[in-house]
């Protein structure tokens, strides 16, 4: 059994999780503080990928990044880089799809933070930096961690947009989910089942981790 799809899936999910970790926290932090109207509009736009079918996301991404489309053509012409059909093309897809998960859980964590804790810290003479790292972040940490893990799990399972933008090339762009589809299509049920079991095992572990963190958050 060639383990390349496992390795490829893990690195795609890993890299896109690191990207949305920072993007999601930043977006959540600033949007939580934004005026009502701005918040409403941005919230809808940023959450959209969560409810759109992945094929729609894939279609839109191809319209932008495809070799004959504006951004894709630009990169091809000036850097001689093709943005689609490489292993890392899938990162575009997973990043867009998992961003709302991270953003929404972080925003929830920031919004449920009790501002009077920060204010009490100020009247006690604690510096703003201390308050941010020792009061605000510890209170929001379980939410942020849960969002990160959830996003990673979702990235690992991404199929629709990934298959459209990266395709399926064994040993190059194959991920677990695209491999399962390909094996099933070619009647190799035995191998497909093995990959299915691998996928279930990973997802199981990840969700266990989420539940564990949730429980810790409630205990506090």
């Amino acid at each position: 059994m060639d383990l390349y799809p496992l390795w490829n899936s893990l690195r795609i999910a890993g890299i896109s999780t690191v990207i949305i970790f920072f993007l999601g926290i930043l977006a959540a932090y600033y949007i939580a503080k934004a005026p009502r109207l701005v918040k409403g509009v941005l919230d809808v736009v940023l959450t959209l990928p969560l409810v759109l079918p992945p094929t729609v996301v894939g279609f839109l991404l191809l319209r932008v990044l495809g070799p004959r489309r504006p951004v894709g053509a630009f990169f091809l012409e000036y850097f001689n880089v093709r943005l689609t059909m490489t292993w890392w093309s899938a990162i575009f897809a997973t990043t867009v799809v998992i961003f709302p998960l991270m953003y929404r859980t972080c925003r929830g964590a920031f919004e449920s933070f009790d501002e009077s804790l920060a204010e009490a810290g100020k009247t006690l003479g604690l510096s703003n930096i201390y308050i941010f790292w020792r009061v605000r972040m510890p209170a929001c940490r379980p939410g942020i961690l849960a969002g990160t893990v959830l996003a990673f799990a979702r990235a690992l399972g991404e199929y629709g947009a990934t298959s459209m933008i990266a395709g399926y090339t064994p040993g190059r762009t194959a991920t677990i989910s695209t491999t399962v589809y390909q094996l099933w299509r070619t009647n190799d049920d035995g191998l497909a089942l093995r990959w299915v079991l691998v996928n279930i095992a990973i997802s199981f572990a990840v969700l266990l981790a989420v539940n564990f963190m949730e429980k810790r958050r409630k205990r506090r």
Binding site: D114, E119, K122, T123, L124, G125, L126, A139, R220
Partner: protein
């Protein structure tokens, strides 16, 4: 030691305008929720910035809009206890109190100060617990210890007992009164509970719609609250609009009766506390029908309708000890309202 406040702040559709002074005494801001009393404390603490005005503590300007002075809350050294205590949930009791300790003290000395404060509040054995593992009273003691360990210049207590069960409230009130006595400097207390305010404070400021309507010694304010809302805030439940007939007579429109007393100019309402209605004949004698008898645990409230009043007028409440009512009970009864116990109100 003195605090001078004169601030204006717009928020949530109304303007807060608070001006007062307080010396080494306890001043209570008494008002309904949303009247701006908590906002006043927040402006003094510096966690909220007023639009206009000044805050001066012991000669040091903490805030002055015109001179662009706005001392950070960290540097104000004002002890503030928040309504739900705002204990840091991830920190132990000891760490919480250490957060309040003076930053110019180092290591061991700071820890000793924090431990001494825990001991003083009788919570030393709880030092390694998290706030969520404490009872309401214990949480309040931690909040008090955390506030006092920094040796604040004034204390501000925002609805200090609202988060407690009623049986705990009385005990904690005694403890907080002890803290205030030992502190001996300016204390601001925000509350909507008139009994609590009367027991805790020396001076009372009645707040309504962002304004201080009346401020003074608590005895004066309670015996002459001045306005209709002030009257309600100090717990007087019988209020009637009046039409002034002459300098000694008014018509109480809500009750449908005429009252005699030396009328102050410009009043448009009167109030009579429920326990100031007296049985039997006397000045402002009224023959009444008993409309309803409401039993409280230790007293009785009797709703009285003057027999000569037209239909649709409101009843007057009369509260007394249970045995008193047992000796008086009847379908019709004569009571009187002594002129000196009639509260004369404007606005």
């Amino acid at each position: 030691m003195a605090l001078t406040v004169d601030i204006e702040k717009r928020f949530k559709g109304f303007t807060l305008w608070a001006a007062f002074e307080a010396g080494n005494e306890t001043l209570a801001l008494l008002g309904a929720s949303g009247c701006g009393k908590s906002m006043t404390l927040r402006c003094i603490a510096g966690v909220e910035k007023p639009d206009r005005g000044r805050v001066v503590l012991d000669g040091e300007t903490l805030f002055d809009a015109e001179k662009h002075i706005n001392v950070s809350p960290q540097e104000r050294r004002i002890g503030m206890m928040f309504q739900h205590y705002a204990l840091f949930p991830q920190m132990t009791v000891l760490k919480n109190v250490l957060c309040g300790a003076r930053r110019d003290m180092k290591g061991k000395a700071r820890e000793d100060a924090a431990l001494a404060m825990l001991e003083a509040f009788g919570i030393l054995d709880l030092k390694d617990r998290l706030p969520a593992q404490l009872s309401g009273g214990q949480q309040q003691r931690v909040a008090l210890a955390r506030m006092m360990v920094g040796n604040p210049r004034i204390l501000m207590l925002d609805e200090p007992f609202s988060a407690l069960d009623s049986h705990l409230r009385f005990r904690m009130e005694q403890e907080v009164r002890g803290v205030i006595r030992r502190f001996g400097k300016t204390v601001l207390l925000v509350s909507h509970d008139r009994d609590e305010v009367y027991r805790m404070a020396d001076k009372v400021a009645l707040m309504n719609g962002g304004m201080i309507e009346r401020i003074g010694a608590k005895e004066e304010v309670f015996s002459d609250p001045g306005t209709r809302t002030g009257c309600l805030l100090t717990g007087c439940k019988n209020v009637s609009a009046v039409r002034v007939i002459d300098e000694s007579r008014v018509e109480a429109l809500d009750w449908g009766i005429t009252l005699n007393f030396p009328v102050k100019p410009g009043i448009d309402a009167v109030g009579v506390r429920m326990h100031n209605v007296l049985p039997g004949p006397g000045k402002n004698e009224i023959r009444c029908r008993v409309a309803e008898v409401i039993e409280n645990p230790f007293s009785v409230t009797v709703m009285l309708r003057p027999v000569n009043a037209p239909e649709g007028k409101r009843a007057i409440g009369w509260e007394m000890e249970k045995p008193v009512w047992q000796s008086l009970a009847a379908e019709e009864i004569t009571v009187h309202l002594p002129p000196e116990s009639i509260l004369q109100l404007k606005g």
